[in-house]
Symmetry: C2
Subunit: 281 residues, 2 copies
């Protein structure tokens, strides 16, 4: 995700230093004028704004706080923008640590997938200092179309988790409904066409339903990544004493999908599990 996002900033004329764990992945950026940095700290050194986009909380912790990390070399007054989806409570901890050095850290998780990153049409949900948000908003507009300031530190992450609860359970709705229809002999394409515009309609039905019917498991967003996010959802739910019976159920059935070898497939492969429960294969 990070590479096309950084590409939009480069194309807009900004001066970029880039660091990636696998150097070859930075090639499309360095070939267009970005400077290679050997460590996150070297990339952060002297920068006005530092963006990062990595998979999980421990990855962010390493980039920010490990030896040769961002905190070591970031200058006072800089702004750190974290596009990763990670724990809201860990995010607040990072923001506090950077605050002590006079640096604002914004949580700015994204949704919209590879396609959104390439086309600059991501949704970006931002939490943290509002002044810092306003300062970086013009840069975010090069990467996304729906930029929302959600409130204080961690609220960008929390809003992203709300998104993940919605997409997971709505995906489950589509899987169960289509399995029920298939088991009872309905023409599923006709069924989707009849229902998609009414109260049963959702992005998941319109976009993933047709792929489920064709057993097209090509990932927009993988089950492994969805599970990573649901782990954060359920951990945050526990921290806040919130009972999430349906999200927990979907998490368990995604585990069954992973056990069946579908972890690298798109989330629509949850349909495989429901079909299996109905002895449809």
């Amino acid at each position: 995700m990070g590479q096309p996002m950084a590409g939009h900033l480069l194309a807009a004329g900004y001066v970029l230093k880039v660091h990636t764990r696998t150097k070859s992945k930075a090639k499309p950026l360095t070939s267009k004028g970005a400077t290679w940095a050997a460590t996150p700290g070297e990339a952060a050194n002297g920068a006005d704004v530092i963006f990062l986009c990595v998979p999980d909380t421990p990855d962010v912790e390493k980039v920010l706080l490990a030896r040769d990390g961002v905190l070591e070399s970031v200058k006072k007054g800089a702004i750190v923008v974290d596009h990763s989806t990670i724990s809201p409570s860990a995010t607040r901890g990072f923001a506090t640590q950077f605050g002590k050095k006079g640096v604002k850290l914004l949580d700015a998780p994204i949704s919209g997938g590879d396609v959104g990153a390439r086309n600059g049409t991501l949704s970006i949900m931002v939490g943290g200092d509002e002044g810092a948000f306003k300062h970086v908003e013009p840069l975010l507009r090069h990467m996304g179309t729906t930029i929302t300031y959600c409130g204080g530190s961690g609220t960008g992450q929390l809003t992203k988790l709300v998104n993940q609860i919605l997409v997971s359970i709505t995906n489950m709705a589509v899987c169960e409904a289509l399995t029920f229809g298939k088991r009872n002999g309905l023409d599923l394409e006709r069924t989707i066409a009849a229902l998609a515009a009414g109260a049963a309609g959702s992005w998941q039905l319109a976009n993933l339903g047709p792929r489920m019917i064709k057993h097209d498991w090509k990932p927009g967003f993988t089950i492994d990544l969805q599970q990573k996010d649901l782990n954060i959802v359920l951990q945050t739910a526990e921290e806040s004493n919130t009972s999430l019976p349906a999200a927990s159920l979907v998490h368990q059935l995604f585990t069954a999908a992973q056990a069946a070898g579908h972890g690298k497939d798109g989330t629509q492969a949850l349909f495989y599990v429901l079909e299996k429960l109905a002895s449809l294969h």
Copy 2:
């Protein structure tokens, strides 16, 4: 629902005989020229097309098969259109019985609520003989905008049940997601605005989410009726050996909503149960 639907046929110039269990409810139709019939059989006598719209399977059975019911007096070649949402297997049984008298019975359940019935914008999902469907389609077009022929007898009901699985679980997605957000201090209006246009988007989120936030339980569709439909869903799932873990869960939590006195409220009052689980009231 039946009264405004019949009103559209009357307004289009058709000659109507009407029967309702409570005579006063037919007043708006008889005052505009419809003839009152004392029994379903009297209404059906001589009619080319017979429409019915009642709550549940036993109600349909009574209207069709009881003494003074439709089967007694319906003429050969007539078409019966059942707008009720009932058991698909019972529907197939009724169709067979009417078939023996040379009468086609179409299952034609509707969605779109009171508003759709009044405005003539219902979705109508039709199962049964295709020739009979084509014959009555012009009449259905006075009542609805999305008219779908789904296949043989019972497929209209099955498609409606797929609709009910989708709306119930997607509603649950919205309830859980907003409860999680509320418990964690998010501004929920801002959250919905940030997410509604993306992969998390659904009719349920856009339409019921804002009502949940305001604790506006005014019914579009009541929990009692949703439970009636989910009972048919789960019974049909059992008949077809289909496991529906999420629909079952939502059914159980709707039962909790009924126990808390929300049966006559809109389905968005499921939010009350999730909030209660999170000790938000």
